[in-house]
Amino acid sequence: MAAALGAVALLATVWELYKAAGPAQGWSLGQTRILPRTSDLAMPHTWDMLQRLVEPITGARDAAPLWRAVLDAGAVSLGIAAVGWAIGVGVGLLIAVAMQRLRVVERAVLPLVILSQTVPLIALAPLVRSWGSRLEIGSLEWAPWMSVAVIASYLAFFPVAVGALRGLQSPSAIQTELMHAYGAGWWTTLLHLRAPAAVPHVLPALRLAAANAVIGTVVAEVATGLPGGLGRMILELANFAGSDPAKPWAPIFGAVVLGLLAAGIVTALGAGLARFRRMEASA
């Protein structure tokens, strides 16, 4: 906690130092801007951004303070991201187990899993929305937020599938042969040897998946225009970049906090698996 606060303080200090001492026009390499301008439009003071958070979001009489609006939007996005994360983790684990079980599945599916992450979100978002709107599962009607959750899960399943596969394959031949000698079948081996061995690989994958789910949710909200969440708020508040420069930063802070929160929640969930976590493999 102290470390996190220290990191925020450090970031704010660097921001203000650059704003005070950096080149006013920034620095460009050819047409590409490498360093930002230091004007109040491009980089508002940290205290201005903080102060903007406690002021009302609009001039309307009953307008909520900006931080409250960001919090509400963040809660909506977090809910969608959680659904996307759960679907992504479920699908990722299933794919990993299938890939471990059948070599042929691994050969067929693993390249597709990797290929799936090269499809740009901008192409995917309208497709998912279009398929979703035609889908009818019993009495369940497809709601726009579900498209966003699906896109989030699409980004979340990847690290889980890859991480879990590595984990499930991590027991050495001598261990699997011992299970074999005990007469243990595939299912028993999975439950008692492979699954526990996979935990150190899966935990960091789950955290990565959480971060991906949050990014996927925010980007998909922007792409599909889903109201209520942080992505849409980023799009809406971009309107004020010229006239109220501190305002568009609020939902961006919200997204950062959301990502940290999601990773934190997943870490807390992982504490229940601490018994199997002799050492954590790097993702």
């Binding site: 609009t58 035609r134 909200e221 109201p227 006239s243 305002k247």
Partner: protein
């Protein structure tokens, strides 16, 4: 050998699964089947951007119960960065869509079966804005300048103007959704809608004076004046369903009738309409929302076509001609041939207008004049 066969089988299986997953679009049910008496017909309307007063008429019609009175249960879907309204319509996701004519002409040539059933905006709202001291006062002055545009089909009036003025040497920059490019000096002339981005400029503080920017700080190029304005917001319907589904035709007339009534409400009650849009989930500031309502009203009222929503043949032909002739920086144009006759029809809007006139609704707004809106800092 066996391994290769396994691989091939697995690949074939996977491909088959993917195909099966993709081919569920053949038999979707029409969302707006005719409802029996007393039941509301569900209708989905796809907007082309976020909830804002650009669409005040539809939100007013919803809020004032005009749709319900016509037996329609209308759901208004705002759009985001990547949703193309005419595509959503052509794929049967929605029943009607709002989109600019030149953009849809391109989609129609690509095979989208959609029909313009009401031309809501009679005038163009697109400006190219520069600082007054930049020396840019006409299209010809854009020679050698950095010009901003959002792209994605929003750039065609600009290109038509540049083509007409014979300007060929310029740098085109893709503009963000804010006006910082112009304010920071990265862009010499930035694209702006009268109802939104132009107001953003007037809500920003001029660092030289410490006051808000004033209209005289800028020069604007107005495509209506330059003669390269193209038709913008129109209501589009599904061509095939118009031809084969009598209930959908009926729904179309009702939908247009209630929508136009909503626009008349927005004309006569600008402040109330702005408040309705804000209540529908727009986070724009109070003065900005009212400005947008007022500027949008100017695009419809007074109607010069005999009734709001009527598609003026001359304006349509001009837009089509420009869509065929205008070339962008890569030498491409929007369409290569005349659109099919099904691309627009006044059949439904005329029916809606005659019903509205019979009810005593003013569909021309001859005596209407815009209100004065004072923009506050940040649009508050």
């Amino acid at each position: 050998m066996t391994r290769t066969i396994w691989k091939a089988t697995a690949a074939a299986l996977t491909a088959g699964l993917l195909l099966a997953a993709c081919s569920d679009g053949g038999e979707e049910t029409a969302p707006a089947a005719s409802g029996s008496a007393g039941e509301l017909t569900p209708v989905k309307l796809q907007l082309q951007w976020l909830t804002q007063a650009q669409f005040a008429g539809y939100y007013a019609a919803l809020d004032q119960g005009y749709y319900e009175a016509e037996g329609l249960d209308v759901e208004i879907l705002p759009s985001g960065g990547d949703i193309v309204p005419q595509d959503a319509l052509a794929q049967g996701e929605v029943d009607y869509a709002i989109a600019w004519v030149p953009k849809v002409l391109g989609s129609i040539e690509q095979g989208a079966g959609v029909t313009n059933v009401a031309q809501i905006f009679e005038r163009s709202a697109t400006l190219q804005v520069a600082f007054a001291d930049s020396g840019i006062e006409s299209v010809a002055d854009l020679e050698g300048k950095t010009i901003g545009s959002w792209g994605y089909g929003n750039e065609w009036e600009l290109f038509a103007g540049l083509n007409k003025a014979g300007v060929t040497d310029f740098e085109l920059v893709t503009q963000a959704f804010d006006m910082l490019g112009l304010l920071n000096g990265d862009i010499d002339a930035a694209q702006a809608m009268t109802y939104n981005e132009y107001a953003q400029l007037l809500e920003a503080e001029n660092p030289e004076t410490g006051e808000l920017y004033q209209p005289e700080d800028f020069t604007v190029i107005d495509w209506n004046v330059e003669g390269t304005a193209m038709l913008q917001d129109a209501i589009w319907a599904d061509t095939e369903r118009l031809e084969s589904d009598a209930a959908y035709e009926e729904t179309t007339v009702k939908f247009l009738k209630a929508s136009l009534k909503g626009w008349a409400y927005a004309r006569d009650n600008a402040q109330a309409a702005a408040d309705i849009v804000t209540a529908a989930g727009s986070t724009l500031g109070t003065s900005h929302q009212l400005w947008m309502t007022n500027e949008t009203n100017k695009l419809l009222w007074p109607s010069t076509t005999g009734g709001v929503g009527t598609i003026d043949e001359a304006a349509w032909d001009a837009t089509v001609a420009m869509a065929m002739e205008t070339v962008n920086e890569t030498g491409a144009s929007i369409i290569s041939a005349q659109p099919p006759a099904s691309a627009y029809t006044n059949e439904y809007v005329e029916q809606a207008l005659s019903e509205l006139t019979a009810e005593g609704v003013d569909v021309v707004g001859e005596g209407w004049s815009p209100i004065e809106v004072t923009l506050n800092a940040g649009g508050a």
